[in-house]
Amino acid sequence: MGFDGMLTSGKMGMNKRKSERTSTGTKTTPAERNIPPVLQIDDLSIHTRADSSGKRLVRNLNLTIQPGEMVALIGESGSGKSVTASAVTGLLPAPLSMSGGRILFQGRDTATLTSPERRAMLGKEISVVFQDYAGSFTPFIKIGKQLIEMIRRHMGWNKTTARVLATQALEQVELAAERVMDSYLFQLSGGQQQRVAIAAALMLEPDLLIADEPTTALDTLTGETILQLIDSLRHKTKCAVLFISHDLHHVIKRADRIAVMYGGEIVESGPTDVLVREARHPYTRFLLQSRMDLADVPARLQSIPGEPGAVSACGCPFALRCPVRIARCDSEAVPEMMVSDGHTARCHLIGEAQGDLGAAEITRTS
């Protein structure tokens, strides 16, 4: 997918449109103010074939993101995070297809969009930053030229104005704008390249940013800076963010809400602090337990039992690995159940004491 296709277009008076929308000065939530969510995914299912005869990759997934909100999607490799993101952009790679549910972007069902409308939406309101940032650029054209071209194409501005915006965008991500504009991609470090990708994704003020593992290829400090940047820009421009990551630490630090995926399902979701305190799904609890604490280092690390990626074909997808599984977990699908306001989970034992997940054998060095 080309760089250009994923870019957004916006207005030069950058923050104006967004601030009008949200500066109510009161503490009401967007929902209470009747502002539609930027993104609303209802009951989404994705199969490897159009007629749902193939393998099911995503099952009955629900997710909403409000303006300015950052929602994290976490889960192990292959759990369906990126496929879900592709469905939102309407760019599911063939032969994958949506076999159920709907995706509303700014209140509009994306399935009803014509191809030109979809391209316009992608060009205008949704932008994506991938882990593989380098793939979004053309290697043999200077970065400045690429950014300017992109602004001109989407907004029809003259070169001079476009150059001003491109410069601002690069400065916003703390790059030496002049130098970077005059560079080819390969002349920049990985962290710099990722910043350019983020500058490009945010420069035209999208309503939704999908950041798919934006820091995985970067080292800790660079990754931290990139996330800080996304975080501050979304507060400033009220851009909604779908933050895909397998790094729980980053997610807890940044996201307003977390949705945990396993085997194509959101097995638990809720406000970040609630989830951290009161996780109900065994998989979420394992993930939380696997965080390393620098002050208290165990002799052995907790790991999740079973084979990573093992998904039960019927019943609960986590059943093959779950130490507290009961008989019906293997056969009965688990509906999404409400734990508390805004906190849902899919586990047959939701209301019951699950007890220890088997962490007892962990011994401490000190």
Binding site: E76, T220, L248, H249, L301, Q302
Partner: protein, 261 residues
């Protein structure tokens, strides 16, 4: 580690530049004790992998000394170097790249032992005559079913490939195993399994480790001592349990803060 520890490796004043502009390593000195794990933490470009390349003698230092078991590693040549190479093995970040896709797991695991027919690790002594049995034992040491010897790398997950790479890495019972970001490309829960495995093997076999990572939590978990690098220089080194001590260098504190909520 106490002062009496006999040092396996003593590195003094090591410097290396790739070209006029890139001073990859400048004046780095440290020691690794027998059975010790020295963690090296630093950001990309800080010189961690250059250090590994020098210790493997894939590159030659411009200045400085590397004494391994009293031998000047930096001066060795030809057959002498080849003989010493087996004392230092490495596990790389990307297990997919480390294994030849055309070779079976059996061939990959056995390659080092075939290259050094006179080497007999303690844990293979009773079966040195039987390649098949040695390969099976190596696999079981890294927690893989021996039946998988006939598989090809593409039939294994990332974590399983990394286990194969570790089996190779320990197969000559090296004195020093260099782990260069061994879990960076793996899922969190798989990372934990691989780190546990590396730690168990170190205890069982009494190897020393140079454990390189930008993940300070993983370094803290694995290491007895930690060395912090920045732009080719040693920022500081300290006992691992002193990572959170107030006297830590501001740069180290920055690394810690980035992973603390």
């Amino acid at each position: 580690m106490t002062a009496q520890t006999n040092h396996l490796l003593t590195v003094s004043n090591l410097s290396m530049r790739y070209n006029k502009h890139v001073q990859a390593l400048s004046g780095v000195s440290f020691q690794i004790g027998t059975g010790e794990c020295l963690g090296v933490v630093g950001q990309s470009g800080s010189g961690k992998s250059t250090l590994a390349r020098l210790l493997l003698r894939l590159d030659q230092p411009d200045e400085g000394e590397m004494m391994l078991l009293g031998q000047p590693l930096h001066k060795l040549k030809g057959e002498a170097l080849r003989q010493w190479r087996r004392h230092v093995q490495i596990v790389f970040q990307d297990p997919a790249a480390a294994l030849n896709p055309r070779l079976s797991i059996y061939q990959s695991v056995m390659e080092p032992l075939n290259n050094y027919p006179q080497v007999t690790p303690v844990f293979l002594r009773d079966i040195r005559h039987s390649p098949r049995e040695m390969a099976e034992r190596l696999l079981s040491m890294v927690g893989l079913p021996p039946e998988w010897l006939n598989r090809k790398p593409h039939q294994l997950s990332g974590g399983q490939k990394q286990r194969v790479a570790i089996a190779r890495g320990i197969s000559l019972q090296p004195d020093l195993l260099i782990c260069d970001e061994p879990t960076a490309s793996l899922d969190v829960s798989v990372q934990a399994q691989i780190l546990n495995l590396l730690k168990d093997l170190q205890e069982q076999l009494g190897m020393s480790y140079l454990f390189i990572s930008h993940d300070i939590a993983a370094v803290r978990f694995m290491s007895n001592r930690i060395l912090v690098m920045k732009e080719g220089q040693l920022v500081e080194q300290f006992d691992a349990d002193q990572l959170l001590a107030a006297e830590r260098h501001p740069y180290t504190q920055q690394l810690v803060q980035a992973v603390t909520a």
